[in-house]
Symmetry: C2
Subunit: 253 residues, 2 copies
Amino acid sequence: MTPRRDPRPAAERGHSGGGARHGGAPGGTLTGSIEDYLKAIYALEELTDLPATTSDIAERLDIAPPSVSGMLRRLATRKLIRHERYRGVSLTPAGRKAALKTLRRHRVIEAYLASVLGFSWDTVHAEAERLEHAASDELIDRMAAALGDPATDPHGAPIPTRDGTLVIVPTQLLAEQAVGTSARVASVGDEDGELLRYVGSLAIRPGAVVKVVSRAPFDGPLTLEVSGSGAKAGRTHVVGSTVARAVKVDKPR
Amino acid sequence: MTPRRDPRPAAERGHSGGGARHGGAPGGTLTGSIEDYLKAIYALEELTDLPATTSDIAERLDIAPPSVSGMLRRLATRKLIRHERYRGVSLTPAGRKAALKTLRRHRVIEAYLASVLGFSWDTVHAEAERLEHAASDELIDRMAAALGDPATDPHGAPIPTRDGTLVIVPTQLLAEQAVGTSARVASVGDEDGELLRYVGSLAIRPGAVVKVVSRAPFDGPLTLEVSGSGAKAGRTHVVGSTVARAVKVDKPR
DNA sequence: CATCGTAATTAGGTGAACCTAACTTTTGCA
DNA sequence: TGCAAAAGTTAGGTTCACCTAATTACGATG
Ligand SMILES: [Mn+2]
Ligand SMILES: [Mn+2]
Ligand SMILES: [Mn+2]
Ligand SMILES: [Mn+2]
């Protein structure tokens, strides 16, 4: 009569989801896939202040749109998102909380790998993308503590605190920075390792100061001066719009 | 005509298997489940020098025997084990290699967590059990290097080298040690956290020297003297056969 | 050497997370 | 305002890794 074994879905048990932590979080344990969807939705909402669309999520996660539709239904059932059919999704408080928790894990891991284990800033993201689903809360806390609870990750992105608070510093894209002005680099997008290696070779990293010398029309290339230490510092460089949209600078005021 | 996307099974892609590393290992990437099966088979073969049986594997992994049968068929198809129907399984060279690789990962992670991040020896196993499937080779190498390529994990178990060599020190179970003799503790089984906490409280850990004072018949309790530093050291203790079978001591010669 | 208990396998599910092909809804634009 | 393209969903698969119930093989014993 009584089932012999753990009747939970496979993904929530030992393996296959990666999401099996220990503490019984309200609403049940989240799989690794779910954590990545929530992170993606969070990032898209943040970016546009609008509901995230199916195709944006699909593109970001490199998953076919119908697969996303299916997952969104599951996320809605679990009350992690609100889904208006054909319109898009937004995170519920529970979903946002879970997204920020995963984001904290991701960024703490990145910071630890870079600071303590000597990983380069273009390799930490891929590693963190997997470890974020396998590390316990305990491990994340210990890594953060070992670094003195860092405020940002190696790419300059703010690290959510243990209680789910994310400090939002006003920034704008380097692509939007006025010609002739200087600004401090706040962060660089961490998804594309090649881009990070290139940007790093130009001494563009969080804290560096960049001056926009000129901007070609029609989303054209940007001429920059990077002031900072290093061999290439102080020289001018021409970067394309992809790079200019991957770099965030402090907003002037 | 051409398939739009990655046609690999879901478990080998982004998530769901945990086994998706980066380097294209020969024979295809292994899922986290497969890695755990191979580790279990390796341990059972090591223990008895006989083919591992379905029910032993099932018990060790807490999985129903029919599920194990199914997985064994898949492992045999992938040439990781040899399977004689109704008889048992043994690892092929490829399977053994994979098992040792996972074992190395597991033990390096345990050692790192204990030495660098201050985890206690009774908590590292659970953490390593998940991280072993998500960490890259690079990460394992860096953790091992940070510790000066340790020879053993916190429980005294030898760590396989990068090239898959495992140093086998002749040991016997504390349960088999002759009455009246002393021996150095080589290792303690790491699966049961509660047991580790208890054993640790008796100052029984790798390197400690234990003397068997007496042994009650019929698999009965053992009276021990633990010599070493610590408050409880030098006192006698009585431990049951479960503990006596979890502790390995150097073999006399 | 027949039999019976145990071990192993087969048969037939399930849910998660993906896919392509086909269909429906929304929307941008002539 | 009508209509085609784009976006989103539904329909119908697949694989993985688990499950229970039923069946088959093995091997110990009388
Ligand atoms: Mn991830
Ligand atoms: Mn980052
Ligand atoms: Mn494991
Ligand atoms: Mn261990």
